[in-house]
């Protein structure tokens, strides 16, 4: 009898003390949270894709409320929900350019080989051996590490090839660009021209390694009426703030290396 009584008392006592302590602590250590964070988080897609540069939608919502970032950084949200977020925060939301990933390599498996690679089928492993088995050190290795990273099924490889990106499905979150060991994947605005070759070599050196690479003839640079295209450090760069989408550069390019990034893309990368 004594044991039962004392046991019950001790357990109840512990429970009551714990409960009272927690209630007291909840009062003392109460942290003021902004209700807007939760409302905004509900409006965000909740995919935690990382496209805005934050690890999760919650972190992005916190930053939105504190005014560190703008709502249009979210690549997945529809315009209406961005507008709703803007209304909550009391700011005007400008529509952001739609961006999509694109692989800046045209040759890939066409480029000349320097040795037979028989290691693990992963770009990040292959790149450890003299930057891959192709002579061109800017060539896509085609094992598709990027397509494995995509959460939206927007990239796929047909065997060993330059990955094909479905720009309709691509949200521009940049997960593929982060994993590419050669930094060939760029997140670029849809509807603008871009250079589908990343080589820094010029002229004959390119032709020797890859029959269809950019030889830096600079016809695009001269052909641009707005002066938006420049060669900086061996790379052809397009300044998108100056571009008027006249596509003269696309016409000028003798090797058809400049292309327009459109949401409907027919051509696929050359396969091995």
């Amino acid at each position: 009898m004594w044991t039962v009584l004392v046991g019950t008392l001790i357990l109840c006592g512990c429970g009551i003390v714990a409960g009272v302590t927690l209630v007291g602590a909840a009062r003392v250590f109460a942290v003021k949270t902004d209700e807007r964070v939760e409302t905004i988080e509900a409006l965000l897609p909740g995919a935690n894709c990382g496209g805005c540069g934050n690890p999760s939608c919650y972190n992005y919502a916190v930053k939105l409320v504190s005014g560190e970032v703008e709502p249009n950084r979210c690549v997945l949200s529809k315009q209406e929900s961005l507008q709703a977020i803007g209304d909550i925060l009391g700011i005007k939301v400008e529509a952001a350019l739609r961006r999509a990933a694109s692989v800046c390599c045209l040759g890939g498996m066409v480029a000349a080989k320097q040795y037979e690679y028989a290691g693990m089928p992963s770009c990040r492993v292959a790149v450890l051996y003299t930057l891959g088995d192709r002579q061109c050190q800017w060539s896509c290795l085609g094992f598709g590490d990027c397509s494995k990273m995509c959460k939206f099924d927007a990239i796929y490889n047909k065997g060993r090839s330059i990955p094909f990106i479905d720009a309709d499905k691509c949200t521009g979150c940049g997960a593929c660009a982060a994993v590419c060991p050669k930094d060939l994947i760029k997140i670029l605005p849809v509807g603008f021209p871009y250079v589908v070759c990343s080589t820094k070599e010029r002229g004959k050196a390119v032709s020797k390694e890859c029959p269809i690479g950019c030889i830096h003839c600079l016809k695009c640079v001269k052909g641009c009426p707005e002066g938006a295209i420049k060669e900086i450090g061996g790379i052809i760069k397009i300044e998108y703030s100056k571009c008027i989408q006249c596509y003269k550069c696309v016409e000028e390019c003798p090797r058809k290396i400049l292309k327009v990034l459109s949401t409907v893309r027919q051509e696929e990368g050359a396969t091995a």
Binding site: T3, V6, G7, I10, L11, C14, G15, A18, T21, L22, A25, A26, V28, F29, A30, V31, M120, S122, R124, V125
Partner: protein, 195 residues
């Protein structure tokens, strides 16, 4: 003599009687959180932190409440209660006073509430009749041992990403195999047990 004894407890609980690999406590988080080295490390830190504090509090409770009234059979349930309360309390305290630490520990702190490693170590402390300092050292060693095991696992799982795993073994099965092999390897330390 005293110091040598503490060192023996520390080494024993950290390596030879590793919580995960020899005593098989806290396995769910061991497989659940070990997918990246970063989260494994955070989890390890959190577990160490909670085990040490839980060891201290449960020792007081055991020594001043349960033993005098001969209520040792209530140990398990009282310790569960205390640990759950304690973790809640720590979480509130951290959220208020050390937001940086809260961001680092993040979701791992509530996870630890139900981690059997914490309860297991407090029960071991009580069953072995450790004094206060010994309990603390035992808790610290257990926590660090947990961190060691989970970080090793996370490192191996990182390498697994590049390995060709047979289809039937992909995911958890291969992780269980690796866990078993690590446990076997740690079994080799049994000979070092200082008694």
């Amino acid at each position: 003599m005293e110091k040598a004894n503490l060192l023996a407890i520390f080494i024993a609980v950290m390596i030879t009687n590793n919580v995960i690999l020899s005593q098989f406590l806290g396995l769910c988080a061991y497989f659940g959180v070990s997918d990246s080295l970063r989260s494994a490390f955070s989890m390890g830190i959190t577990v160490t932190f909670v085990i040490v504090i839980a060891s201290a509090v449960s020792w007081f409770l055991d020594y001043y409440l349960l033993i005098p009234y001969h209520m040792e059979f209530l140990k398990t349930i009282v310790f569960i209660l205390v640990i759950a309360t304690l973790v809640q309390l720590i979480e509130m305290f951290i959220a208020k006073n050390i937001p940086l630490l809260q961001r680092m520990l993040g979701i791992y702190l509530p996870l630890v509430t139900t981690n059997c490693a914490v309860l297991g170590i407090t029960l071991v402390n009580s069953n072995e009749g450790f004094n206060f300092i010994e309990s603390l050292v035992n808790g610290l060693g257990a926590g660090l041992g947990y961190m060691l095991a989970i970080c090793l696992m996370a490192g191996i799982r990182g390498r697994l990403m590049f390995a060709k795993v047979p289809r039937a073994m992909q995911g958890m099965p291969i992780n269980f195999l690796i866990g078993a092999m690590m446990a076997l390897a740690f079994f080799g330390f049994q000979g070092f047990l200082i008694k």
